[in-house]
């Protein structure tokens, strides 16, 4: 007995605690038919384990409860940007963006247009149901002229709301897309065409040929105010007048497979550090150190952070450096987050730093409360501490300005702080590597290398003498 049944879905859909086997879609909704075609194609092609679907905000927001693949949810309109990121960082995965017409053609149109123009390896499934379904039937860019919606109660009028946006036709202006087609799920013949187009878009991803776009006319009985069969008929009779079906472009036979370019130079390459270092290997025992350095612009905040990130790289650790500038170009507040980790880093932000370096009082007042138990705050000695650090957090005062001035280079406060961090051992990095990174930060002014090494050693000695264990 051969059984034709749904493939590529989870066995049960655990939307609300109790597992179910039905979707949240209204009766006769085109989304469900499209899901079936897409899931079946992924299952038949054997790509579920390396597929990531970027789920939209819209009626399909719960897609991730249904399709048995890797899932990511994107903010409304941002699916193409998220898909781009996944494509760039996980070039071996098959990336799918599934979006409604509000999501893709209104708030997300620019992101879509740009992703298409860059030829990202993304199979995009664009569900045109001529409305904002999820929010209750407002006008979408694809709403037809004369069509009544919640926000066009007298019907869409061109001089008020403009014309229906034909996305396939718009994308067809671009050079990069490999495949652009418009299909429908209104009846059997159309569903079979849709099935082919969906598979084609996925094959293009498997072959790494570039951007593939499938627009799918999909009935939304609820917001059309029609029963499921009439809504499907409406798609054929009304929607297709403005959105003709067909393949607008298919250069998949000629298009060459292209692997994504190698990752771009790391920040340190831009900033002058060495490149001949070992790539990091995961080391779970090392853990992750979140470091925040804050002060005002001109205090060498950013370069201190960069030196730590560089030292981490030289030590074959994962590292990130994430600057945050004030709105002022010079002299405003300035901070950076550095992460040193034994495992790949997800977010470069450090909202709860284990190590906080404060070069001025506003920095202390702003960030000290965020340091968790067991953390360390290193402050310039001029900072007036009116509120003690949180419980379990150690505070060290370092006269960096005074020492740097004594050592002959008042500007070298950051070198003094680096030495203090080295002495405290809070970065998890060897002093030798911190020194190497310090040297590299003066690559363009080699005269300063021995001077700063000297300052580092003296500051280190100061810590030894003053911070007896």
């Amino acid at each position: 007995m051969a059984v034709i049944k749904a493939k590529g879905f989870y066995d049960t859909f655990d939307r609300s605690g109790t597992p179910t086997r039905d979707t949240h879609y209204c009766p006769g909704c085109g989304h469900g038919i499209i899901h079936k075609l897409l899931c079946e194609a992924m299952a038949d092609m054997g790509i579920q384990d390396r597929t990531v679907i970027v789920n939209p905000i819209g009626c399909a927001v719960f897609g991730y409860y249904y399709w048995d693949v890797g899932n990511v949810g994107a903010a409304h309109g941002r699916a193409q940007s998220v898909a781009t990121a996944i494509n760039r960082t996980r070039p071996d995965s098959i990336v799918i963006s599934y979006q409604g017409d509000g999501d893709l053609a209104a708030i997300g149109f620019n992101a879509t247009f740009q992703a298409a123009n860059r030829g990202e390896h993304v199979a995009t499934f664009f569900v045109n149901n001529s409305t904002y379904g999820m929010t209750g039937g407002q006008m979408a860019p694809t709403t037809l002229l004369g069509q009544k919606t919640k926000t066009t109660p007298f019907g869409r009028a061109a001089d008020h709301e403009g014309y229906p946006l034909c996305v396939c036709e718009a994308l067809n202006q671009l050079k990069a897309p490999v495949y652009i087609a418009r299909v429908s799920v209104a009846d059997t013949k159309r569903i079979m065409e849709a099935k082919k187009a969906i598979r084609k878009a996925l094959e293009i991803q498997v072959q790494k040929k570039g951007f593939a776009f499938v627009e799918i006319l999909s009935p939304c009985p609820t917001n059309l105010g029609l029963d499921p069969l009439k809504a499907a008929q409406w798609e054929i009779e009304q929607s297709e007048q403005i959105f003709p079906l067909g393949t607008f472009r298919d250069i998949s036979a000629e298009a060459e497979s292209r692997k994504d370019p190698e990752p771009k130079p790391t920040p340190s390459e831009f900033f002058g550090g060495g490149t001949d270092v070992k790539a990091p290997e995961p080391d779970y025992a090392f853990g992750t150190k979140h470091i925040k350095i804050a002060g005002f612009g001109g205090q060498g905040i950013l370069s201190l952070g960069l030196a730590i990130a560089e030292a981490a790289r030289y030590s074959a650790r994962y590292s990130s450096w994430f600057p945050s500038y004030g709105p002022e170009q010079r002299g405003g507040s300035s901070s950076c987050n550095v992460i040193v980790s034994g495992t790949p880093i997800g977010s470069p932000d450090a909202p709860q730093p284990d190590v906080l370096v404060c070069m001025n009082r506003p920095s202390y007042d702003r960030f000290a409360k965020d340091v968790p138990k067991g953390g360390v705050i290193l402050c310039d000695a001029t900072v007036e501490i009116t509120e003690q650090p949180p419980e379990g957090v150690k505070l060290f005062m370092m006269p960096s300005l005074k020492l740097a001035t004594e050592f002959g280079v008042p500007k070298a406060t950051n070198t003094v702080m680096l030495a203090a961090l080295a002495h405290l051992g809070v970065t998890g990095l060897a002093t030798e590597q911190l020194l190497n990174a310090l040297d590299d930060s003066f690559k363009k002014k080699p005269k300063l290398i021995p001077i700063n090494r000297d300052i580092f050693q003296k500051a280190y000695a100061w810590c030894e003498a003053n911070w007896k264990a």
Binding site: M1, V3, K5, G32, I191
Partner: protein, 81 residues
């Protein structure tokens, strides 16, 4: 016909899981043999689900592809000799 009204196992037939049917009628309208209908009793969701009249199915799976619900319909076909 089996006890679920799904027709003889020796012949092609649609097998419904009526709890998952939303009664949209797309399968009924699409079936080229017109062998599906909407029941006059309600399912657990409180809608009138689709059912097989019990004979005449050719196993084309058109009902399956028109159905928006993943688990409402399967089509069973005896293996060709």
């Amino acid at each position: 016909m089996d006890d679920k009204g799904n027709g003889s196992p020796a012949l092609p037939r649609p097998v419904f899981n009526e709890d998952h049917c939303k009664g949209c009628g797309r399968c009924v309208a699409a079936c080229p043999r017109k062998v599906l209908r909407i029941k006059d009793t309600l399912n657990v969701r409180g809608v009138n689900p689709a059912e097989y009249v019990g004979e005449g199915c050719i196993g084309c799976a058109i009902c399956f592809y028109n159905c928006p619900e993943p688990y409402a319909i399967q089509v069973h076909k005896p293996e060709k000799k």
